[in-house]
Amino acid sequence: MNRRTFLTFSAGATAGLMITPIPWKLTDDASIWTQNWQWNPKVPKRAIYFAEMASKLDPSGSGVKIAVVNGNAVGVAGNVDHPLGKGAVSTMAAAEVGLLHSPARVRQPMLKTQTGFKTISWEEAETILTGKLTEARGDVAMVSGDDTGSANEIFAALVNGLHGSYYMMPGETQSAHKALELMGSEGRIAYDIENADYVLFLGADALESSGTSVRNARVFSETHPTGKAATAKYVYAGPVMNNTAVVCDQWIQAKPGAAATVALGLSRILMENGASADAKGFASFKQDVAQGYAPAHVERETGVRADVLQKIARELAAAKRPLVIAGSEFGQGAGARALMASLGLNMLLGQMGQSVKIVPGAPAVVKGSGSESERYAADVVPFLKGVAEGRVNASVLMVYDANPAYGLPQAEAMARAMDKAAFTVSFSSFMDETAERANLIMPNSMTAERYDDLYTPYGAGCATYSVNKPLVKSAFNTRTIADVMLSVASRLGMDLGYASFKDVLKAKSVALGASWGSLRQGKAWTSASTSGAKLNLAVCATPAVGAFAQGSLALAPVVKHHLGTATIAMPPHSAGTVRTSELDGVQSVVQMNAKTARMSGVKAGETVKLVGPGGEMTAKVHVSEKVMTGVVAASLGFGHTAWDGFSKGVGENAFKLLAAADDPETGLSVWSANRVTIATA
C-alpha cells in the first residue's frame, strides 16, 4: 500500500463512518438494551381505579383518593368532595401510601425473648395478651394517639372493665376537651375559617401542623386568589417564621408559648374600648384581665410590641367575622390556657356561635367506654414519668397509634417508662421506638388495609364523619387492632356488644344519623348542628404557666410534616425533601438569627450543645432571620433510634430537651415555653 492508497482508504473510511448509521444504531441499541436488565423494576400494566380514604396518618384528617392497581395502592390524588381535604394532598397523606411497604413495618406479631424478638401467630399473641390482662386486672394502662377514631371506645371499655386507666396522647384535642370542661361545656371546637375575614393565629401552625391544616390551607388559597386582592387578612404570631407565617399577610414576632398572654392582652384593649360578652363569669374575667395584661406588660412577657398589639386589637374589632386560633407552636404542650384565653377573646369579638362553634362529640356506641371527655381527662405525661421513676406500677401498658418513647417531653424518661412497665404491648404498624421496647408487638393494619373511622378532628368547620374500608390487600400479616381487642375482650369474658369493628362503625353511623351505604362508599358525612351551651369566662384569665428552666434562649420546636409527626418518622418518599437548613449530613441543625448568634457567642456552621430542662442535644448552627431574637428553633422529627434507614440515626431528637411543668389548676402539664442554654460543643 502506497501513501496515496493509504490516504484514499483513510478518507473513504472516515467518510463511510460519517455516513453509515451503524455506530449510531449501536449506540442507540446499547442505551436501550442496557436499560432492559431483568432486575430493573417493571411497572404494572393494569387499569387504575380510585377509591376514597380519609388519611389517619395526617393529623388534619384530610380525605384523599387512593389509586389502586391490581390490589396494590400506587398513588394518591385529591378529593374535592371531602370537607377536610378539599382536593389537596398533604405531605403525610401523599406519603401514607408509600409507607405500606416501608422497611420499618412490623410484618407479624412478635414476642420479645432473651435473644430478641421472635415471630408468633396472632392466636398466640391474643392468648398471651389475654393472660397478661387477666393477671394484671386493676393495674392495666393504655395510651392512645388516635384522636378521631371509634376504636378508642373498644379499648376504653376493655380497660374500664379491667379497672385500669386510659390515657390519650397530649395534643390540641386534649387541650380543647380540657378547656371546654373548665369552661363548663363539652364537645369539639370548630372554627368557621371559610367565612372569616380576619384570622389571627396565636402560635397555632394552622397551615401546616395545627388542626385541620389542609382545609385551612385550602381556605387560605381561596381568600388569597393569585393575581387578585385578598378577601381576608391572615396574621401569625409566633417565634419562628414557620410554614404558616411565611405566607400570612403579617408575621408578629412573639416568644414561644405566648399565645395566652397575647390573647388576654388583646382582650384587655378590646374591653377598655367597650367590648363585652353576654357570658357567665364576664365580670370576673374583666376584672382579672384589667389587673394584668397591660400592653407594656404583654410586650415584656411576650416580645409583642405594645403598638402592634393595639393595631391588631383595632383590626380585630373592625373585622366583620374575625377569628382567633391559639395553640402551641408545635401542637402539644400548651395545656388548656392558650385555648381558654383565645375562646374568651373570640367571645369578646362576638364570634361564639359564629366563627367559633362547639359541635357535639361523637356519640358513644360501645357500652362501658365512657364519654370522650372522660377519656381525655387524665394526663399521660406525669403517669409515664411516674412509671419511669418507679413510683407508679403498670403491669400491662398498651400503646395504640402513638410513639410515647419518642414524641413526648423528656423523651429519654418516656422511653424508660416503656422498659419499666412490667409488660408493654405495642400495636404500632411500624418498628418505632415504643415497639422496639415492647414485650409484645401486635401490628395494626394501615389505613388503606383496615376498617376505621374519623370523627371531627380539632378545629374542623363542623361535625364531620368518614369511614375507611380495606382498599388493598394487607401487605403483611397484620390485623385491625380494634377487631383483635374485641376478640381479647371476649376471651376475658366481657361482652362489649359487637362481634366486629365494622359493626361498631355501623352503629356509630346510625347514632349520628348518617347513611352507612354512603359512608362506606367514602363519602363524608357532615352536620351543621352545634351545642348551645354557654361558656363560663371566669376561668379564662388565669395567668399562663411561666417559662420552664433558666436558659439564655427560649426554645422553639418546629413541626414540619415532611419530616414526620410525633407518631410517624420521616416517610421514605419525603426523605429527599429535607433541606440543609434542617439537617447537615446526619447532624441536626438549629436556627437562630444573627443577633442571637452574636449574643450567644456562636457562629454559623459551628456545632453547639443545647441543654434544656429535659436533656441535651448537639446541632449545627444555621443563622436565619426567620427566628426572633432570643430564640433558638429546632426541627422535630429527627433523632430516631428505630424505624428504617430513611430516619434512623439521622440528627437528634429535640423532644429530649423539653420538660413538662405541672399546672394543677387545669390538670394538664405544660411544655410549650422551655428555655435552653447554648455553648460551643
Partner: protein, 274 residues
Amino acid sequence: MAGFKEFNIRWSMVVDIDKCTGCGACMTACNKENNIAPQEEAKTRLESKGFPTRFKKIEWLTIYELSNGKQGGDHDTAFLPRPCMQCGLPSCVSVCPAIATDKNEEGGIVSQIYPRCFGCRYCMASCPYHARVFNWDQPIFPEGMEKQLTPNVSVRSRGVVEKCNFCHHRMMYAKDAARVAGEDPEKLADGAYMPACAEACPTGAISFGDVKNPEHAVHELIKSPNAFRLLERLGTDPQVYYVSTRDWVRKQGDNYLESEGGVAGGNNGGAHHG
C-alpha cells in the same frame, strides 16, 4: 438561534410564590407519581464521601428557599418550587446527540425518552435551571415497594438522565377522558389536566393550564405585572411562570445586579427572545 416549533397549545405552570409555604407536599406527590425511588438520605449522604449529595439526589421538583438578605424586622423569606421549565427554546434539546429529548408535541412539553438516553449529560450541562438529574445508581425500591409502582411512568435505570415532564401521562388521560365524553381532546377544559404537584398543593400556589386558551385561568395570570420567569434574560422562553408581589423576589428570579433598577414586568406573553 432558530426558533422551535410554535404550538397552538402551551401548557404552562404559574406558581404564586407568595402562597407557597414550602411544605414539600408537591415534592412528595411528584416522587410517588413518577416512580422516583425513595433514597435513604442519611446513607446516601454518608456514602457519598464528599461527592456532593445534590448531584446524586433524584428529584424532579426542587423547592428553593429565598431570602431578601436583610436582618431583623426587615427580613423576608419566600419559597420557590422549580420543576422543568419546558423552555420554548430549550438548550437541552439542541445539545442532545441522541434525540432523547425533544420539543415536538402539541402543548410544548419537552420530552425525555429514557431508552434513547445514553447518559452523556450534555443536557444537564446546558440546562441553566438544574432541572435535570442523572441516575448515578440503579434505583432501589425497598422490598415490596416495587408493587406500588404506578403504571404510568417507567422506572429509569442507571446511566439515564430524567426530568419533570408536567406529568405527561396525566395529559394523555385527560385527552382520553375528553374523547370518551365526545369533546375535543385538543381543547381540554381548565383543570382537566393537572400535574400531581399542582393538584396536591394545599395552599393552591400552583396553577396550571394552557396560556393560549382564554378560558384557562393561567391565560390572564401570566399577564400580571407581577409575573416573571426564571433567568428570563437568557431567552429560554420558559413555560413556567412565577408570580410575586414582592419586588425582591422578582429581582432574584433573574440574577439582577445590585446596580440594576427594577424588574421589567408585563413582557411574559410567550414571545421568543434572544
